[in-house]
Structure formats: structure tokens, C-alpha cells
């Protein structure tokens, strides 16, 4: 039996991720995989800040955490710090706030008790937010108590180094590295990770975000290694700052297409996969790096591809299902970005929302519930934080919260706060943790 030929056209980080992941998962008896090297990474800075689930991706392809952190100069990330977007700055982390008390959602409870005036009032009840502010880090103790063991974290890291690590892993899984694209002529499946769609006929659906950017890497600007990606609203756009172990990555995004060094157009293909060409990464979708979105979509698209991999690559039905899931995942994630822009008081500009995004915002504004759609990638309280952080406070609260008594609630709130305080006391500083566990050769915070 001849093997099916898969050719990955490198370009952005998704190519290296696909090479390692496919190489590990697809049996080499039936598939031969080629990776076409294409020079330095496209939009590499956009991938320097992850969501928490990158950890699972690494686990699946047997990349250990210390190995990853050392070779990619990774620092730890507990959330994103949004400044200038809403009335005060706020951190969006990877875990829900507090805990349900007597069956009542934590936010409803705070509102009902009159303890909520701004999102700052929630800080005492979030371990990752407090740890980020204190500059401390220790991975969750899986055997610990719920409040202090159920948080999660991501990374700030060097994407170019990650690509090298992934390609090394891919080679060990039998993926062949080639220099020319000609091999794709005989491919059964071309995975286009070049950053630009291959088939021009595909419809591109545009979204309104920023239109240009300038990216820089700088020597560390602070003596402390931040545990958050800083997302700061500016007059003409916004700025992302992410610090790995050796450098700071700074990207300025502008609404005006003339202001940045590079232009970009937010949007997605209506059919990322058609015939034998599958577009992934920036070739399929351009979404700005809020909550690690571009990297996260690369990861999920690759995992989805393997989950739905067609035994017969000429069958259209798996492609159709891949496109259906992928496009609605893109759209729900874009809803988050659009709401981030549209509900901000930083700019007087129009940002259109889908009907689903509007419904989500309106249900929250009316009664504090987060509507969940299928293919929604974000945690409930990622949305809650976005809405509250930008000053949308629910008009009504859960009727179940109405009769809670302060004397029953307060001891529990105090207990949550105290558990977190105790946990923080035993956590090392972020810099100490890295120095001890996973410092890269040029670690800058020794």
C-alpha cells in the first residue's frame, strides 16, 4: 500500500505545531509527512503569549514543561492585564472567581450582598489575580483545596525557539524536512501554514479590528518578571507587552492602516479547508492576540484535524465537518474580541457585533448570566471579567441569591480570602521559581 502524502508549508508557528502533532498522531505506516521550511516565522510576536491550554498540547506531544520553559525561555502567565479599556484596569485569568456559595453564583452573591462596586472588589477571591499582583508563582497543587488548586496558567515564550523545539520533535516522529515546495505537487493533503491563503477563490470575511501594527523586542524593561500580558488601550489603538525570561515583546496595534509598520486585516476564510488544501494559522484567520487567540486557534485547529482526519482524503464529509466546527469556533472567539472593542469606553468608534454576541451581552447586562454557545472556547468568567471589567453591571440578580443572609455568607467569603492568603504566603516569587525550576541559559532576572 502506498502511503498518503501530507505536505506542510511552513511560515507561521502553526506549521511547526502541525508537523509535531501530526507526526506523533498519524501512523507512519500509512502517512508520510513533509515539512517545507520557509524562513523566519510570520507574525511570530503574535504568538508569544498563550492561553492555559497550550500545556495540554505540549503534554500530548511529550514535551515536558521544564524542557519547554528552558528551551523557549518561557515565563509563566496567570492572565492578561487590561488597562484603559474600562473604568479601571482588570486582570482576566484562567479560572472562575471565588466559589458558588449555597448554590448561588459568586458574582450574584457579591451583588446581592452589596459588596460589589467595581471589579476590584472581586480580587480578594481570585488566587491567580492576587499572585499576579504580588509577582508570585507556584503551579496548582492538584491535591490541594479547590480554591487554591483549580487555577490554571499559560506562558510567555519565544515562538521562534518553540518552532525549533517542535520541528526537532517532528523529525524524531519521522517527519521529513525539505527546502522546496515542489513536493506539494504530489501531495494528497497540503497544509498551508504560510500565513497567506493558497486558494484565492475563497471568500474572506472581514472583521473590524485594528489595521496595522509594529512589533519590537526589547531588553527587559523592568526588574520584575510580569505574570500577565499587559494589554493597554491607547489613543490610536492598543499595545501588548509580554515578557519571557530574556526579553520583552511589545506590539503596538493601530486602527489606522498607515500608522504601523505592517498592515493586517482581521477576518477569516469561509472555508479553511477545500479540496486538498487546508489553511491553518494566519492563512485561515487573522485575529489579534487577546487571550492568546491566534496561537490557541492554531492548536485547536490541529487537534480538530486529527480528531476528524479523513481515512479517505478525497471524501468531502470530514472536510465539511472540520469547516463547520472551525468557522463557528472562529466566530465565537471573534465575538469576544468584538465585545472587547465594542464595550470599551476608550474609543468612539463603531464595532459591529453578531446577533449571538449581542444576545450574550444583553443577557449578562439584564441578569448576569453567561449564555453558552457550542464551540465557545472561553471560560464563563473570561466573559464575566470582560463585561464587569468594562463597566457592564447586571441590572437584576439571580432570584436564588435574594434571600441570602450576610451572617451566612460573610464567614464563607472570609474563609475563601484566608485560604488564598495562606496559599500565597508559601508561594515563591516568579523569578525565584524559574531560577530554581526551569531557567533558560540567558535568564535575565537572576
Amino acid at each position: 500500500m502506498t502511503r498518503q502524502r501530507i505536505v506542510i508549508l511552513g511560515g507561521d508557528l502553526s506549521g511547526a505545531m502541525a508537523a509535531a502533532y501530526l507526526g506523533h498522531h498519524l501512523p507512519s505506516k500509512t502517512y508520510e509527512i513533509f515539512y517545507v521550511n520557509n524562513g523566519p516565522l510570520v507574525k511570530s510576536e503574535w504568538c508569544a503569549s498563550s492561553y492555559s491550554d497550550l500545556r495540554k498540547f505540549n503534554q500530548k506531544i511529550k514535551i515536558g514543561e521544564a524542557e519547554f520553559a528552558k528551551s523557549c525561555a518561557a515565563s509563566l502567565k496567570l492572565g492578561e492585564n487590561y488597562t484603559g479599556w474600562g473604568p479601571s484596569s482588570y486582570i482576566n485569568s484562567f479560572v472562575d472567581y471565588g466559589a458558588n456559595i449555597m448554590g448561588v453564583n459568586f458574582i450574584d452573591l457579591m451583588l446581592q450582598q452589596g459588596l460589589y462596586n467595581s471589579i476590584d472588589d472581586l480580587i480578594p477571591y481570585s488566587l491567580p489575580v492576587r499572585a499576579a499582583k504580588e509577582g508570585k508563582f507556584l503551579p496548582p497543587d492538584t491535591k490541594g483545596r479547590p480554591i487554591v488548586s483549580d487555577f490554571d496558567y499559560g506562558y510567555h515564550f519565544n515562538p521562534q525557539a518553540y518552532a525549533s523545539l517542535l520541528l526537532g520533535r517532528a523529525k524524531s516522529f519521522g517527519v521529513e524536512m525539505v527546502q522546496t515546495r515542489s513536493i506539494s505537487e504530489s501531495a494528497d493533503l497540503i497544509i498551508n501554514a504560510t500565513g497567506t491563503p493558497l486558494n484565492e477563490t475563497d471568500n474572506f470575511m472581514s472583521w473590524i479590528g485594528c489595521k496595522s501594527y509594529t512589533a519590537r523586542s526589547l531588553a527587559p524593561q523592568s526588574s520584575k518578571l510580569s505574570l500577565t500580558t499587559d494589554i493597554t488601550a491607547k489613543d490610536k489603538g492598543w499595545t501588548l507587552t509580554a515578557s519571557d525570561q530574556t526579553q520583552d515583546i511589545v506590539i503596538d496595534f493601530f486602527f489606522d492602516e498607515e500608522m504601523g509598520e505592517h498592515q493586517h486585516h482581521c477576518g477569516r476564510l469561509s472555508k479553511p479547508w477545500s479540496d486538498r488544501v487546508l489553511n491553518i494559522g494566519f492563512a485561515a484567520i487573522c485575529v489579534e492576540p487577546l487571550m492568546g487567540s491566534p496561537l490557541r486557534l492554531m492548536q485547536h485547529d490541529i487537534e480538530r484535524l486529527v480528531k476528524l482526519f479523513p481515512p479517505n482524503l478525497t471524501d468531502p464529509i470530514e472536510r465539511e465537518e472540520y469547516n463547520r466546527q472551525t468557522v463557528s469556533t472562529y466566530d465565537r472567539l471573534w465575538d469576544y474580541h468584538a465585545l472587547q472593542y465594542a464595550s470599551s469606553s476608550a474609543w468612539q468608534r463603531d464595532f459591529p457585533l453578531t446577533a449571538k454576541a449581542t444576545h450574550k451581552r444583553d443577557v449578562f447586562a439584564a441578569r448576569g448570566r453567561i449564555v453558552t454557545y457550542e464551540e465557545d472556547m472561553l471560560f464563563r468568567d473570561n466573559w464575566t471579567t470582560l463585561f464587569l471589567g468594562q463597566g457592564i453591571t447586571p441590572q437584576r440578580i439571580d432570584p436564588f441569591a435574594e434571600n441570602l443572609k450576610a451572617k451566612d455568607v460573610n464567614p464563607q467569603l472570609n474563609a475563601i480570602e484566608k485560604i488564598i492568603t495562606q496559599a500565597l504566603r508559601s508561594m515563591p516569587r516568579h523569578e525565584e521559581f524559574i531560577a530554581k525550576q526551569c531557567a533558560a541559559r540567558r535568564f535575565a532576572y537572576k
Binding site: P27, F309, P311, R369, V371
Partner: protein
């Protein structure tokens, strides 16, 4: 905010839907200053919907704090591990759709892909032997799941087969004890508010007007409030599910006590068999275009397992869903909200979903549109997904032995279903969703059970060497067989756990 607070709810109708709603509301909203009144008339009969249930009902009862053994005793209940489908894929077939998985994933690939791979080497494709609840059902065994999730004896869910009339009675006592007011009377008129068309009150035969902020319509098919008063409209799905009548009767129980329901496909529909502790419930669901009422009744009676215990009763229905389950200040729960034939015992499940979602979206007096929209969105998903799953049973067949089955064969199907089937046929992938009663294992059970076998399997399954595959599959089969051997007989278990006699 306080003047907008809902202070009164009237539930119209006291069948399963009415009393489940009453019990659900009074248990979860007990701290609210809320008066709940249920109006029912003994003169109007109730339809004993779905004497078989889904595992979800246990969570409903647990939330109410109901003791399981006590409830089972009071409703003469048996345990249910699944449904046996006979003669569906073709005449002579039999499979069980269980409350549980078929084997565990291996290397993150679904177990059934390995089965498909082994089948290409000539192995038997029947999934039964890898499912504990199926094998337990086939052997008439039952005991409560083991508390240790690593023990194979924990690998199933269960539901009940009970007398729905007695369940309603049980919940009535529960609700009345908790302060629900019951009014005996027939409603002769519904008064609407001129400014917004909301229901202001219902008028009873004795001339009294009963006012409330919210009205819950549990009046059954006719939709006394949601349709007769508010003219909400109905989505007709008989083009997909053409059965429109059922004839029912109870009979004496014969043979050992079985922990499952049976649904047997017949020439113009299908017949259920639901074993309770003291009798067996039966009903023939049919399409009146293809069989007369008398013929259907005769056919149903001819298939009874024991002596007939009640006169045949005929019901008429129209499969479909109310355009809006919640319209203005009226929420339609139960048959007034929509009807789907009880092929997969979804009647009580849909009632429960309606109650749970209503509590989640509990409104203010003005019933904001946004609350209605979110509630209706979730209920529509529930109904449509159950509809497609039921339809799969009719479509996944080679039967064409009667005009009814030939009609089904030539029917145009919803694209949502043909798409799912195409994907499965290609490589055994199930189109998953979050909201809805039936998840991947249920779809697998029906696909495989009715002869829809994927052409290929997940290529990642090739990582396990072919030579070791029989050993992997055989190991699970043995574990299941040994575990079933160790279980109690269903009849014995009922006798010691919840004997009604």
C-alpha cells in the same frame, strides 16, 4: 426592583407536567415570597405520558430531596438500564440502547473505532458484549452502580419505569405539604390585559377569577393558555415523524422482571412494553394513514404478553413544537409545549428541562423579552435534537415491507440529520453537541444497532498493532461478562430495595 418581583404563579393542569412543575418550583424557590397555585379538574383526564424515563429524572428527584426507594415503592417502579429495539434495522434485529458507554477510549480514540477496525478482519460487530448495562439487561440483572468510578460496576446510569399517574400523585403530596395551593375546577375563560396581551387571570366555572403574575400551561395537547388564549402557533413535524395516534392497555406481567423497556417496530408504527412491578404497560404508536384504530387496537392486544388488565384507550396527537415555549407571561410545559413520540422516553425529560431552564431564567413580572429569548433558544435546541434522534430510528432501516415503511423510505429528511449520518457512515464520527438528551454513546448505539456501519475508522486507531487488537477487545468483553455474573437479579433487587406489594 421589588415591585417587579414575581409574587404569584398559577399552574394550569395537574398531570405529570403540572405536578412536576409545582414540586420543582416549590423546592427551589422556597425562600421566595411566592404563592403557587395549581388548578386542575378531576373531570379532565390526564395522559399518562412516558411511563419510562431517562436517568436525568434522578437529579430532579435528588434536588427535591426525594428518597429513591420510597418513590419507587409508591410508583411501583422498576429499574431501567436502557431500551431494547426489536425489528428496527430489519425484521429479526434486536439491540439495546443503554445508559452507558461501549468500552473506554484507547489512546484518546473512541473504542468503537477499534471495533470497526477489528470488524474489517472479520470480527463480530455487535457492540452488546462491551457494554455492562446492555449485558446486565440481557441477563435480567441489576444493582445500583458501584461508588468507585474505577470499578466496571460503576459504568452505567439508570432510570425508572413507573406509573406516571402515581408519580404525579406523589409529587402532589410533596407539593401540598410545602404550601402549594390546589384548586379543583374547570377553566372557562382566560382574561388578557389590554395593554400588552399578557394573561391577567383565568375564570373558573364557579365564577371566580384567579390572578397571577406568571401562568404555566400544563393543560396538555390543547394548550388552553399558550394556544387557545395567546395563539402562539405550532411547528408541525408530521412530515418527519408521521405517527399521530397511540392505543394503550395494561396487561399481566409474564416471565422474569426485566430492567429495560422494549420498543418493537410494527407495520404502521411501533409498540412499547414497559414492565412495572405489578403490571406491564403497552402501547401501539401508529400512523392513522396506514392502519385503522380498530386494527391498531387488535394488533396491540394480540402482542400482549399476559392477560389484558385495562380497556384499550386511543390517544391522538400531532408531533411538533409550539412556536414559542414561553410567550408573554405564559410558559408551556409538557404536551402544551410540544409532542414527540415516546420512542426514547423523552416526555418527562423535556418537562424537566423546561422546569430547570425556567428556574434558571426566572423572570421579573414583566417577563423581559431577553429572558424569553434565551429560554426558547434552549428549549428549541432540546426539541429539535430529540426529534432528529427519534427520526434516526426510522431512517436507519432497510424495511420496506408495508406502505408505512415505504412512506418513511421516500420521505425528505432534515438536513441536520442526513449530514450527521453521512459523517458517521464515512468514518464513524458523531456530530457532538452540549445541549440535548442524547450524547455520542446514544448515537453510536442506534447507528450500530440498526446497521449503519462506518466505511472506515479513525486512522489514529492504527497505532495499536492489529495482532493485539483481539486481546484488547476480549479483555473488556471478559470484564463485562464477569461483572454481570456477579450482579443481583433485577427482581430480587427490587424486592429488597423498594417492594411495592
Amino acid at each position: 426592583m421589588d415591585n417587579k418581583k414575581v409574587t404569584s404563579i398559577v399552574i394550569v393542569g395537574g398531570g405529570t407536567a403540572g405536578w412536576m412543575t409545582a414540586a420543582g418550583l416549590c423546592a427551589t424557590l422556597r425562600n421566595q415570597e411566592l404563592s403557587i397555585t395549581l388548578i386542575e379538574s378531576a373531570a379532565i383526564g390526564t395522559v399518562g405520558v412516558g411511563e419510562a424515563t431517562l436517568p436525568h429524572i434522578r437529579f430532579f428527584n435528588q434536588r427535591l430531596g426525594i428518597n429513591e426507594a420510597e418513590l419507587m415503592k409508591a410508583t411501583k417502579a422498576t429499574f431501567k438500564l436502557g431500551i431494547e429495539f426489536k425489528d428496527w434495522g430489519k425484521i429479526g434485529d434486536s439491540y439495546i440502547h443503554p445508559f452507558g458507554n461501549f468500552g473506554e477510549d484507547i489512546a484518546r480514540v473512541g473504542f468503537h473505532h477499534y471495533v470497526s477496525r477489528a470488524a474489517q478482519q472479520g470480527f463480530d460487530i455487535h457492540l452488546d458484549k462491551w457494554s455492562l448495562p446492555v449485558m446486565a439487561a440481557r441477563h435480567g440483572k441489576f444493582q445500583l452502580p458501584h461508588p468507585d468510578p474505577n470499578n466496571i460496576l460503576s459504568s452505567f446510569g439508570f432510570a425508572y419505569q413507573f406509573d406516571a399517574g402515581l408519580y404525579a400523585k406523589f409529587l402532589r403530596a410533596f407539593s401540598e405539604k410545602r404550601g402549594i395551593k390546589r384548586i379543583e375546577g374547570r377553566i372557562i375563560d382566560v382574561n388578557l390585559r389590554s395593554e400588552n396581551g399578557f394573561i391577567s387571570s383565568v375564570k373558573l366555572e364557579d365564577g371566580s377569577d384567579i390572578e397571577a403574575d406568571i401562568f404555566i400551561d400544563c393543560s396538555g395537547f390543547r394548550g388552553l393558555l399558550i394556544e387557545q388564549a395567546l395563539e402562539t402557533g405550532y411547528k408541525d413535524w408530521t412530515n418527519f415523524l408521521p405517527c399521530d395516534r397511540a392505543v394503550t392497555a395494561a396487561c399481566e406481567h409474564e416471565g422474569p422482571s426485566l430492567p429495560y423497556t422494549t420498543a418493537t417496530a410494527k407495520s404502521a408504527g411501533w409498540q412499547w412494553r414497559i414492565p412495572l412491578q405489578h403490571r406491564t404497560g403497552n402501547g401501539y404508536v401508529y400512523c392513522s394513514d396506514h392502519i385503522s384504530d380498530d386494527e391498531a387496537a387488535a394488533s396491540m392486544l394480540a402482542d400482549l404478553e399476559g392477560d389484558q388488565r385495562s380497556e384499550p384507550k386511543t390517544l391522538r396527537f400531532k408531533t411538533g413544537q409550539r412556536n414559542k415555549s414561553w410567550h408573554k407571561n405564559c410558559i408551556a410545559i409538557g404536551l402544551s409545549g410540544g409532542f414527540l413520540e415516546p420512542l426514547e422516553s423523552t416526555g418527562i425529560f423535556l418537562i424537566q428541562e423546561a422546569i430547570t431552564n425556567f428556574i434558571e431564567m426566572f423572570p421579573t413580572k414583566d417577563c423581559p423579552q431577553i429572558d424569553q429569548d434565551e429560554y426558547n433558544r434552549i428549549m428549541d435546541l432540546n426539541f429539535e435534537r430529540v426529534r432528529d434522534f427519534l427520526l434516526l430510528h426510522y431512517v436507519a432501516t432497510t424495511r420496506d415491507d408495508s406502505p408505512f415503511w415505504r412512506h418513511i423510505r421516500d420521505m425528505e429528511l432534515p438536513e441536520s440529520l442526513t449530514y450527521k449520518m453521512e459523517l458517521f457512515k464515512s468514518s464513524g464520527r458523531v456530530v457532538s453537541y452540549d445541549v440535548g438528551a442524547f450524547k455520542d454513546p446514544s448515537w453510536l448505539a442506534v447507528y450500530y444497532g440498526q446497521g449503519i456501519i462506518p466505511r472506515a475508522y479513525d486512522p489514529v486507531a492504527d497505532h495499536i498493532p492489529l495482532e493485539s487488537l483481539p486481546q484488547h477487545l476480549g479483555k473488556v468483553e471478559n470484564e463485562v461478562a464477569q461483572a454481570v455474573e456477579s450482579m443481583s437479579r433485577h427482581g430480587d433487587y427490587i424486592r429488597q430495595y423498594c417492594n411495592a406489594a
